[in-house]
């Protein structure tokens, strides 16, 4: 099971990094989503992988599933979900404003024109 989970995290991270290095905002946002999936699974495994462990330690329980990483993952999921929504909205605004969804700096000539800013 460890091998399966580790290679899943690795594949997600590799795909995420590849997409993040693209120049257009759509693949970059997809790449960031993949990276956050990878990190969520990674956080989940940081409490060790256990099967059928008791959620709360009580008398007579042999082992238990660490609840803290689950709480951390929940926080991380909520935050990354919100952040992705924000970046989609800002990216959409930038695309609609300039008919261009590149994420690198605009050419120097476009930057120097004062009418590009309010």
């Amino acid at each position: 099971m460890e091998f399966l989970v580790a290679s899943a995290i690795g594949a997600l991270t590799a795909g995420g990094i590849y997409l993040v290095l693209r120049l257009r905002s759509f693949p970059v946002i997809l790449g960031i989503s993949l990276l956050t999936y990878a990190v969520n699974v990674f956080l989940f495994t940081s409490g060790r992988l256990t099967i059928g462990g008791a959620p709360i330690l009580r008398e007579g329980a042999i082992g238990y599933a660490d609840p803290l990483p689950q709480a951390l993952v929940l926080t991380a999921i909520v935050i990354s979900f919100g952040m992705t929504a924000v970046v989609v909205m800002i990216g959409l605004g930038a695309f609609l404003g300039s008919d261009d969804d590149r994420v690198d700096d605009a050419p120097a000539s476009a930057q120097d024109s004062p009418e590009a800013r309010p």
């Binding site: 993040v20 905002s25 970059v28 946002i29 960031i32 990276l35 956050t36 990190v39 990674f42 956080l43 495994t45 940081s46 409490g47 060790r48 803290l68 990483p69 951390l72 926080t75 991380a76 935050i79 990354s80 919100g82 952040m83 992705t84 924000v86 970046v87 800002i90 990216g91 605004g93 930038a94 404003g97 300039s98 994420v103 690198d104 700096d105 605009a106 476009a110 930057q111 120097d112 004062p114 590009a116 800013r117 309010p118």
Partner: protein, 517 residues
């Protein structure tokens, strides 16, 4: 247990939604509420700093849970100083935003401003690494909104870059936290400081990877070369008051490095040997050089200021990477100076923009409105930022050179700092002469954009920041004495650790007499 320590987090957290819900159509009421909130925060921060000044470490256990199980806020000399610095900066930035009318050019400026303060103050006060991540996200998500305040295509494009870069940084932060938790089983800073020393010498791979990842994350925040690429565009395109407030955000990264790498991974720890002097110092020196060359090469004033911020952050990181008490004391003195000077320069560049009717290009243009006063302020701000006497930038660099003298890399540090200072003086002198002197030789064309004199309140805010810099210079002895005390406290972390871990709370001691309440 008093609840004052959490007030800097709770007050803006309550005020921001109140501003959105109760005063969303009344800019006047928003301004009054926001100003009152910041003034109250200054009062609280001053009281906390006064309380911590004698070395007391204040602990606040959320929900009364004892330290390794619950989240704690810790107020020691360092964190209360940073809280006070943030709130004072926020007051002048807010005055400028109101005076220049920036806050009325888009919706919800004041609410986002308060959320931003909540995130920054929380990041300074927390004693838990995961909670630090959460406060980083709070300050980031508020900064995304502030960054694109008032809209515009160029600003939105820069905003996309800024958000994407920081999202990747947050992902790295989570990877680092997962690795630390997997290795040690705790995320409380004081608890970590104890457990990291227990990691056996053969099993240090995970914790070393985590330490480096964490350093990378904080270096992104502190805009250390080669992780600085997000800063010039986003700071240059952000509205001026927002960019001025962002001057404290790079310092959040510097603060986190000082805190984590004195408390959890101190230089003498064998696990992370070589991390600081081998990697941090060269990167910091390159930051100084690159920032100052950027000052000389910039074609627009706001980019010049952004590169000056990179250079001064590099200067801070050079001091931090030496990791001696003298160097950390110098770094803290310089952090205060660099925050105020960077913010003042961003505000001055907006004064120039207003006076010129929108253009910030560093080419000769017809005389601007209100040129005399703006030029005087620019002169003072440039002297402070470039580190010329008599202002505090000069004293900060002097402290750095003094602290570096004892280290083996003294010659390199002296050479880089002194040469880059010369380059930055040239850069500021060129900018000043293009902006203010050459204007006299050009007559205004007929179709020139109408320029207006900036509002008196805007000048007052910039003047206030520069006055604080002057005070920081006049009382340099007292200020440096206090930062030396902070450094002494940082390098003797045992009281911090025992305060956090031994203060009783729920779950701390299994006491059968005491009922759960």
């Amino acid at each position: 247990m008093t609840h004052w320590l959490i007030a800097p987090v709770v007050l803006p957290a309550l005020l921001a939604p109140f501003i959105v819900l109760a005063a969303r159509y009344h800019i006047g009421i928003q301004r009054v509420l926001s100003l009152a909130g910041v003034l109250a925060l200054i009062g609280i921060a001053a009281a906390l700093a006064w309380q911590a000044a004698d070395g007391t470490i204040t602990l606040y256990q959320l929900g009364d849970w004892a330290a390794p199980f619950g989240i704690v806020l810790v107020g020691d000399r360092l964190s209360t100083l940073m809280v006070l610095l943030t709130t004072v900066l926020a007051l002048f930035v807010l005055l400028y935003a109101i005076g220049s009318g920036w806050d009325a050019r888009g919706r919800h400026f004041h609410a986002l401003f308060q959320f931003q303060l909540m995130g920054i103050l929380g990041a300074f006060l927390t004693g838990d690494l995961f909670n630090l991540f959460v406060f980083f996200e709070v300050l980031l998500i508020a900064s995304y909104g502030l960054m694109i305040h008032a809209g515009g295509t160029a600003r939105l494009r820069a905003g996309v870059q800024y958000v994407l870069f920081n999202l990747i940084g947050s992902t790295l932060f989570l990877f680092a936290l997962g690795a630390i938790y997997a290795e040690t089983g705790t995320l409380n800073m004081a608890d970590l400081a104890q457990r990291v020393t227990l990691v056996s010498a053969e099993e240090t791979v995970g914790i070393r990877v985590a330490a480096v990842l964490l350093l990378l994350v904080f270096a992104i925040k502190a805009a250390l070369v080669p992780l600085h690429f997000w800063l010039p565009s986003s700071y240059a395109e952000a509205p001026a008051p927002v960019a001025a407030l962002f001057a404290i955000m790079t310092k959040v990264g510097a603060y986190a490095i000082i805190r984590v790498y004195t408390l959890i991974f101190p230089p003498e720890l064998s696990v992370t040997q070589g991390l600081h002097d081998l990697w941090l110092l060269p990167a910091a020196l390159v930051s100084v050089a690159l920032g100052m060359i950027g000052v000389l090469a910039a074609k627009r004033l706001e980019r010049l200021v952004a590169f000056a911020v990179i250079g001064s952050m590099g200067m801070v990181m050079v001091m931090i990477s030496l990791f001696t008490p003298e160097a950390i004391a110098a770094a803290l003195y310089y952090i205060v100076h660099s925050t105020l000077a960077g913010a003042a320069l961003f505000l001055i560049s907006d004064l120039v923009r207003t006076g010129r009717g929108g253009s910030l290009a560093l080419t000769a243009q017809p005389p601007m409105a209100g040129a005399a006063l703006t030029a005087a302020l620019f002169f003072a701000g440039a002297i402070a930022m470039a580190g010329l006497p008599p202002l505090s930038g000069f004293l900060g660099k002097l402290l750095l050179l003094q602290a570096a003298l004892a280290t083996p890399q003294a010659a390199l540090i002296w050479a880089v700092v002194l040469l880059s200072s010369l380059v930055s003086i040239l850069g500021f002198a060129r900018a000043g002469s293009q902006l203010f002197w050459k204007a006299k030789s050009i007559t205004a064309p007929e179709d020139m954009a109408p320029a207006s004199v900036p509002a008196p309140l805007a000048y007052l805010a910039v003047g206030g920041l520069l006055a604080l810099l002057a005070l920081h210079t006049v009382f340099a002895g007292a200020a440096h004495g206090y930062t030396s005390k902070i450094a002494a406290q940082l390098f003797a972390p045992q009281p911090y650790i025992s305060t956090v871990l031994e203060t009783p709370g729920k779950l701390s001691t299994p006491d059968p007499q005491k009922k759960d309440h």
